[in-house]
Assembly symmetry: C2
Homo-oligomer: 403 residues x 2
């Protein structure tokens, strides 16, 4: 049956392993022999709470999440967290520094693509502090407006004591990703952060979560991710939060911080074991199946190796096609995302022909984001090496035919 | 196969029609012949947006939602809306009356059970206005603390120009529901609201949505409901919002209103057709299947008739058992919920025997909410009349044997 399904290179919601979908079908009708489907049982039943515990354990073990950090499941996606991280981190900063004015209180944003830009816009919209741009990669790009690379380390300008330092690890739209190699010039410049102390470092890992290890995970205040790229259906949001960032938001509000809606309070959710209110049960269940399968395959270590090979194959074919004049990468070498490879197909009508040719071969959802156009190949965990080889072969064939 | 499944009388997440679950299985693997599963396709694809449109149309048609009202899908459940209604309605009131102080600005809460109490607690926690209790049913109850009835109309004390008037149509935990018969003393006292004008009337319909018509739907500012009772898996929240309540929350914040997280702004969600960010796609899909089935059966009109019969059968058996001394209803006659029937089983160890006996007959999830104990029979749309007859027969047998 595998060969009959089209290959889904969509950027999200995206491909899920077929074996997981088959297992999920069974669970929908009869969950663990209860006779009741997984979408129908109480989220407070022992069957469901053990499922939440197992999902958490799979994330903690595979990513080496340290005991200093809690894992929280919530709803609302990355966009919900654009607000929640601001509200919770501002509350924390207010409790630490109650006397600062909103102008003196600073939030640092690293802008490397459309998603970090959106997050920064939300921070400004909410107010409660001034926003400082650590670096805006678009101002450093060829055309001074697109996002085509991780900026050089010397261009990062961090504040002294910000309420948060925000970055997006992988920019799904622009195809720009921080390198996981600390020696690379495209890595996140952890060495430029002030020495000592607990950094208020916030990372959006939505489109790379569980695809490879998280560098310096223990040094993060908050890591968040929507599930719908590598690990499950939309509707589930995963948070990894250092315990000093789980604060009493009501105490902070009494000191003047912005009131925090209860579903966005990290403390309320953490104290309730992510079951303060009914969670997105079906998404949690399927994410659990995906990560159980991942564990059996060797965990994130396995996917890191696999995803590295997949990305290298695609970028190699893309570079070859560039030398033939068939393609133009949108991203500078070294900053290219392992998850989302974005490029233009050169020549009259060539993009349409590229898409139609791919579709004829059963390869779908390759259109770039509507804001930037072009082609985007998403290579999330569920895309196999064999499927990658097929798009690589197509990239080569198309380049040759169009040379 | 139907007879092999246990009957799930759980209060939510709760039973779904088996035919829908079977259909959902197919969609998980291959959605509408795309070859790609419904959890894997883009929420911006034409396949998915037409699914959202069809879900909306099914709600609008079956509930007679007037053109003055928008239907919005979001995440976060009823608890998320405890905050969102406050934030959006306070923003609206701020724009209408920019000069009132927080003390002068009032939010009216009708308290008829644990859920409206929780909503009121959240309103107080967020601040931005004073909270006025229209009536607290617990102060009128036999023991002056439990919620056992809809209070008499003369006990309702509405404010003159509140930012919102909040009530919970069906209290899932306490089994208290407003009557849908306007002549009943347990109906919502619409006639006591100030004449004319657009009422800021907010109703939590989480556990009765789509189970019967909504009285005076056009007079509501906001109706909200989590999906996980009558229409689908958890993770989807449905809003029906009158257009004058879809306001520019940023303009209100400039006038001093509490900043609203972007995912909670009704305007942002309405303007984006509920697709501002990735929604809980799988929950939307399954809710769509449930309401399509509902339409084929005759819509909400069909379920109103069915649910009325189901409730009457159960309450009749309960009253008979009361006269035999086997049960004690927790709710006064006339205020009993059609969806959640709550009562105590009298006698030593009788509750455990009741539960064990039911389980032996394949009837599950009958334990009352942990905060109130006792028995709770939830009779959501997916519970058939035949299944209701089985619990009714058991109620009668148990009462006879324990008389």
């Amino acid at each position: 049956m595998t060969n009959e399904r089209p290959i889904n290179f969509g950027a999200g919601p995206s491909a899920l392993p077929e074996t997981v979908l088959e297992e999920a079908c069974k669970g929908l009708l009869n969950f663990q022999g209860t006779g009741i489907g997984v979408a129908e049982i109480s989220h407070r039943s022992k069957e469901f709470t053990s499922l939440v515990a197992s999902l958490e354990s799979n994330i903690r073990t595979q990513l080496d999440v340290p005991p200093t950090h809690k894992i929280i499941f919530t709803q609302g996606g990355g966009t919900g967290q654009f607000s929640a991280v601001v509200l919770n981190m501002l509350a924390r900063h207010r409790l630490l520094h109650p006397d600062l004015s909103d102008e003196q209180r600073v939030m640092d944003y690293v802008i490397t693509g459309s998603w970090s830009k959106k997050a920064e816009t939300e921070a400004k919209r909410l107010g409660g502090a001034s926003v400082h741009i650590v670096v805006d990669a678009s101002t450093k790009s060829k055309d001074s407006k697109s996002f085509d690379a991780i900026p050089a380390h010397e261009d990062f300008d961090f504040s002294a004591d910000p309420a948060l330092i925000y970055y997006c690890e992988n920019e799904t739209v622009d195809g720009v990703q921080f390198s996981n190699d600390e020696q690379s010039s495209a890595s996140f410049p952890f060495h430029l952060l002030p020495a000592g102390g607990l950094w208020p470092l916030v990372a959006d890992y939505s489109s790379s979560f569980m695809s490879r290890k998280i560098p310096r995970i223990a040094d993060h205040a908050v890591i968040f991710a929507g599930a719908q790229k590598n690990i499950g259906p939309a509707g589930l949001t995963i948070l990894i939060v250092r315990q000093d960032c789980i604060v009493d938001v009501d105490a902070a509000a009494k000191l003047g911080a912005i009131p925090v809606p209860i579903t966005m309070s990290y403390k309320i959710n953490a104290d309730a074991g992510s079951l303060y209110n009914t969670p997105s049960t079906l998404s949690i269940y399927i994410a659990g199946l995906v990560l159980e399968r991942s564990k059996q395959l060797g965990g994130v270590v396995y996917f890191e190796s696999l995803n590295g090979r997949k990305a290298q194959k695609v970028y190699t074919a893309l570079r070859e096609g560039e030398t033939k004049g068939a393609y133009r990468s949108k991203v500078k070498e070294g900053s290219g995302s392992w998850m989302n490879v974005v490029f233009d197909v050169l020549g009259d009508n060539a993009e349409s022909r590229f898409l139609a040719g791919a579709e004829a071969l059963g390869m779908m959802a390759l259109k770039g984001h509507r804001s930037v156009g072009g082609i985007r190949i998403s290579l999330y965990n569920a895309i196999t090496e064999e499927q990658t080889d097929r798009i690589v072969a197509y990239l080569k064939d198309f380049a040759t035919q169009n040379a």
